[in-house]
Assembly symmetry: C2
Homo-oligomer: 340 residues x 2
Amino acid sequence: MKDLKSFTTDRPARATLRDVATLAGVSEISVSRVMRNAPNISDALRTKVMNAAGALNYTPNRLAGALKNQSSNLVAVVLPSMSNEVFLSVLDGIEAGLDEHGLNAVLGLSEYDNDREWRVVRELLSWSPMGIILTGLHHDESIAGRISQFDIPVVQIMDVEGSPIGGAVGMSHTKAAVAAADYLFGKGYRKFGYIGAWSERPERSRTRRLAFEDRLKVLGTRCVASRILEERSSALAGASATADMLAASPEVDCIFFANDDLALGGLFHAMSAGIKVPDELGIMGFNGIDIGKATPLPLSSIETPRYEMGVMAAQMLLRMQHEEPQIVELDFRIFEGGTT
Amino acid sequence: MKDLKSFTTDRPARATLRDVATLAGVSEISVSRVMRNAPNISDALRTKVMNAAGALNYTPNRLAGALKNQSSNLVAVVLPSMSNEVFLSVLDGIEAGLDEHGLNAVLGLSEYDNDREWRVVRELLSWSPMGIILTGLHHDESIAGRISQFDIPVVQIMDVEGSPIGGAVGMSHTKAAVAAADYLFGKGYRKFGYIGAWSERPERSRTRRLAFEDRLKVLGTRCVASRILEERSSALAGASATADMLAASPEVDCIFFANDDLALGGLFHAMSAGIKVPDELGIMGFNGIDIGKATPLPLSSIETPRYEMGVMAAQMLLRMQHEEPQIVELDFRIFEGGTT
DNA sequence: CATTTTATTGTTAACGTTGTCAATCGGCAT
DNA sequence: ATGCCGATTGACAACGTTAACAATAAAATG
């Protein structure tokens, strides 16, 4: 009986520079240069090498290249979670931005856990990425120190209120909350409710709530009811929290939700319960997701530049190789739907 | 004036095995062994090394390790796009599955383009990943050849109908379409419409449509109207396509949508237009996304195991290091909402 | 006590690539 | 003819790690 080895040996093994060089009858370094489009290569050499590389199906070994170079084209991307459409768009943008420059994302999820984030960062750094993108501005002290050893650009996304380690691309959640309060107040609502989820992870939602409450005080009114769910955001959760809140505090005339999923739930509940939106109840979301624009009553919300944030984060990473870190504050926009 | 170098030199450079070894007064290989938890290490040695590593903030260089080992703990993940909630869940599952085993995902997006997929695969392979996850079963011939040189496990996700390169974790889109047809026929609908988007990317949606149409014929009826939009799926697109279809073919009594985004749009249109769902019009989606469960009339749909698919793909990758590739067909489930 | 195991640590040589420095070859001005 | 220049190619030594083997000391065996 043939041993296992013999099954595998007939598969052509991965070719190396040496193999290509031998076949082409040139030196390894010449192959390397051709592969990297180095200057001063004769057409004759280039052709020989390209043919040989093609024949052998040569795939460069980036591990070796990056090791020698002390730098890779990998970018570490640390997001809290993938169970949130927000980070989908952000990651989409990041990928788009990175791809333009031939960079690859290595993904790590912190799951909103500091210890885990620390481990993930450590893990990703071990690949000598050329840069790292973190979510939010609040990170374990030691993370900054660890990264600083690598002398690579750091870009933090989502938030700009605080002191970033390096560059930052985000928006002001305080301003957004103030704008929401002003807008809703201007629409005549006075008895506000607030509904959040998952114990206010990420922290940014807490920032928004506090700023919203503060602003209401300035305007001479306040949140008369507030629910922070323990479960994750979902339309179902938003619907039941809304029902709950209206039962307990019937005087509430407008609810500001931590995100559009919850808000859509609120809207759907109102539709089912025959509550007149926006007259009896105003509904305001946050993020401005697509589906909110298609409901019979389009969901009023705050449109956040998530995709753009990702793209710009990637671009800033590139720029920071030469330039100083910047803080870029992107604009949000109030989307006036039919629910307010 | 100080030159630039002097600004950077005061930052402690990244420590290597050698630095740790010197500080601890042991050999490099001993440090390596401690870091990898190799057997037969004395407590004395381990302590010395750990202290030195801690003092220097040592981060192992995986590039070097992987180069020497001829294998990394990276997994190449190639998805068509991130602008689709479906792949969000899948990626979430993949990350969860990989993380269990200390593996890292390197992400590549094909954007439904064969050339681009080829480039992405090539790119990712250059990192010597320990495995690769591809989306769908239809790939450029040369991709399989290229991967085979690496002797690494390949798992293809989403689909099981066809011949995978290696293992596969997916579902039968044909069976799903047949089940949908049978279910809707059983509910009494007879004049069917179908609405898809983005010129039927991914191909799987085309498979479903064809199987749906075939099944309707078997049942003695047929699709009386069909719209394949060129734009991407969105609730707005679904709404306008629905309006359009009903205007042109008022006899349609049930629409099967390529996905839930489109279907929700259809539902919202019906609500706005005062069309009685499910009596005058049945609406059936595909995927079973969360938000469809929270609408006043929950959206009937086919629940697909997206997250689970990701987790299982990751696990299968691990298993395939020792075992033969398998094809795992996961079950879908018809979710009977209020729209049919 | 000589001899064999066993446990622990060290030495050496790669892994595949690329930066640095040399070498070669015409051409061209002196 | 001589010497110099630019263009092109090559030799060699790293990058930081680890497998394989060697060496040493301690323990167990007869």
